[in-house]
């Protein structure tokens, strides 16, 4: 009989081993799933785990998708670590994109490359404003931040569709719900020729370092986390829970807004109804699979990005549905949660039954 036994201390090995095991299980179930669909499992898995990394261009595309996921997840990690459940990063991402798009639309022939800076700052500001609404309602009226932040996603979507279908609609756009294509001067500078990787990837890596320092070396970061781990201890220490709430939401809102700005002024290049791509929700999985740890989230963002690209590949090359992306995301999160049991428990074989 297999038995779970509590460990006296959480296992160090399994803290890192569990995501690896979870990935293996995901691959296994994925292989079984491809066979069941009548496809060659090796080919199927290739779509997800080899094609996205098989050459420089593919790697670039991988980073293009991983960048917004990582930036949003970094912000969310601050929230989740301080027990603030912001699940509306998608909305903050959209508003960030709208603010950034608004600035980008102001650009004309006389603008310089420096306009990218106000575009990015506007994105950050937009995300902060949107997250700030959640913080305000929570702070003043004790409104549940999970509900408020989630609902505001749909408000943000409506706002976007109003703008692109109304005041900001491209007059030359054949009545499509989209703005005009931004001036090329507004485009986020790219790192290499022939690849869409932009300075956003550098910003993301810089944010990883900044978050690590904030969480593990500053007293503010410490205070935030104590508020999440043991609210009574935070009260005892005198760490303000209101400050933590505002700080966490503004940081994650700003990060999501930045990601929105990088997307809209980068790969997309205009505001359309297709700006919301679900990055804000996928980043929640990225954050948890990455253990809310800055470095861990780099890996999980890349992994999640592979799933996105793999889904598209599976659709175009194997004629399977793109929802496979979601299936793989779900499988990974599910197996991770299951494997995490091993961090606090160990498996034991018991020879005799009963007892």
């Amino acid at each position: 009989m297999l038995k779970l036994e509590a460990r006296p201390e959480p296992s160090k090995i399994w803290t890192y081993g569990s995501p690896v095991l979870a990935l293996l299980i995901t691959v296994l179930i994925g292989a079984v799933m491809f066979s069941a669909l009548g496809k060659d499992p090796v080919k199927g898995l290739e779509m997800f785990f080899w094609l996205p990394i098989h050459n420089a261009y593919a790697l670039g595309e991988l980073l293009v998708k991983a960048t917004p996921l990582l930036i949003i997840a970094l912000g969310l990690a601050v929230c989740f670590r301080s027990n603030v459940w912001n699940i509306g990063a998608e909305g903050q991402y959209i508003i960030g994109a709208i603010f950034a798009g608004g600035v980008a639309l102001l650009a004309d022939a006389s603008s310089t490359r420096w306009i990218v800076l106000p575009i990015l700052l506007a994105g950050v500001l937009g995300g902060m404003v949107w997250a700030g609404i959640t913080a305000l309602l929570r702070d003043r009226f004790h409104a549940n931040e999970i509900l408020v932040s989630l609902m505001l996603v749909y408000v943000a979507v409506q706002l976007l569709s109003y703008l692109v279908g109304g005041p900001w609609k491209d007059p030359m756009g054949f009545n499509f719900p989209q703005t005009k294509t931004f001036e090329s001067v507004t485009r986020i500078p790219r790192l290499f020729d022939g690849s869409r990787v932009s300075i956003g990837a550098l910003l993301a890596l810089f944010s990883v370092a900044a978050l690590w320092v904030f969480l593990f070396r500053t007293r503010s970061g410490f205070a935030l986390q104590v508020g999440g781990l043991a609210p009574a201890a935070a009260r005892y220490a005198g760490f303000s829970s209101r400050k933590a709430l505002w700080m966490a939401l503004l940081m994650s809102g700003g990060a999501a807004g930045l990601a929105g700005a990088l997307e809209v002024a980068g790969p997309i290049g205009q505001l359309t109804l297709y700006v919301p791509a679900g990055y804000g929700f996928a980043a929640i999985i990225v954050a948890f699979v990455g253990r809310l740890h800055p470095v861990g989230m780099v890996f999980s963002a890349i992994l999640m990005s592979m799933f996105y690209i793999g889904g598209e590949m599976a659709q175009s090359r194997l004629g399977l549905t793109k929802s496979l992306t979601g299936v793989f995301q779900g499988l990974l999160l599910f197996s991770l949660l299951a494997c995490d049991t091993l961090v606090n428990y160990r498996l034991k074989w018991r020879t005799r039954g009963g007892a």
């Binding site: 201390e9 593990f216 500053t218 007293r219």
Partner: protein, 531 residues
Amino acid sequence: MPTPRLQLKRITKRYPSVVANSEVSLTVMPGETHAVLGENGAGKSTLMKIIYGSVKPDEGSVQFNGQVVHIKNPQEARALGISMVFQHFSLFDTITVAENVWLGLNKNLSLQQVTQSIVAKATEYGLDIDPLRPVHTLSVGEMQRVEIIRALLTNPQLLILDEPTSVLTPQAVDKLFVVLKKLASEGCSILYISHKLHEIRELCTACTVLRGGKVTGVCNPSQESNASLSKLMIGAEPPQLTHRAQKPGAAVLTLQNLILPREDQFGVDIEGVSLQVCAGEVVGIAGVSGNGQKELLYALSGEDVRAKPGTIHIGGVDASRLHPGQRRKLGLHFVPEERLGRGAVPTLGLAHNMLLSRQEAIAWPKFGGGWIRVKQLERHAAEIIARFKVKAGGPRSLARSLSGGNLQKFIVGREIDANPKLFIVSQPTWGVDVGAAAQIRGAILALRDAGCAVLVVSEELDELFEVSDRLHVISRGQLSPSVPIAEATVEKIGEWMSGLWDDDVQQHLAELEGMAIVGEPAQSGGQHAQA
């Protein structure tokens, strides 16, 4: 020799990191009141859970009335005639006494019948209780009576009581003992778990002493002395504390008519508490738990800043509205009652737990709240671990991996190490083994001798009598006048714990008039009062 009511043979129970019981044997005769004595962590609770069926032993056998039994769960235990009254009550606050009892009983009975049987049992044993009162209006002592009645309604042959007196006033303890002695005289066996030696010597006719999961002695406690029992329990006699006389200095903490309405529904209102603690003295606050200690301490520590300006002064500064961090700058250091989750973050290492109340390892405090110098933090934590003899793997050990006593030593050490001007500690030795308790009390006295003002809130009278210079009693959110320790007696403090201190005044007046008036509580809300 009659058949023993309960016989445990070589019971062993292992947990991953500890052997809770090792070859424990225990025999309880019918009508015997048998004490199980031991420090926290000696394995008493595990043993009782084995008897009550909520834990299964790895080895050994349980015999009940001569039959070998395998008790799978508490329902089976109750069916056999074993009842247990837990230290922490399992009553629902919002429903009545009768409804609570009904919930735990056979569903064939109607609420009406249950109410009748409660009244019948209550009269039989002199347990005064109104079955129609909602539980949240009961005092802790009354809640315990409800638990005892609930246990008695199953007509047990063996009643297990886990630390039943930890929540009672001395007078309520006396009443409980009357009930228990009556039960025993009727043939019911009682297993009485405690670490209070004088109670065991008064009540019990047999005693099994546990230490580190092993039986270290079986004796008749009435023929033993406190010293010999405690030697069996901890392997040594506890060190004696010396209490030097010392003239207190200037007032450090002054409370003037502190009034605070309750924050949560089942809390207590603080009703006009005034108090002074001077440099170089220890002031104790006695009282049964749930009489406003928690609320008062929240207001003192700054975790609750609703106090009216001018009501709390620390070192001459109006601190009524200051937050915990600001009060720490005035020299106030506080050890809360809850160690895990309030005094320390369970999932963080000891070093990082330093940061809750200490700032020494913070550089550039203006920048992002300050930079944490991890090396220095760990060095500092290691110093405290060494200085206060905390048994821990090191500064990185998680707070939750420490035993209660060791974590308490660390937290007390962390606060004392800050050289406070005012030190407030709640339940300093709750759940702490005797050796560590003596060490903590010693540290409190050393702090006082060094000129610190100390306020100790505790439910253990013995402890308060040991460390305090003056004693207050808190009851229903009101604070008694203070009495110098030399003039305090257990009886007097016990009476005050029921809120009867105004009677002193009455009695004094009555004596002046040459006639004695005895004991009607002068408090409002007298429906709660039970002498």
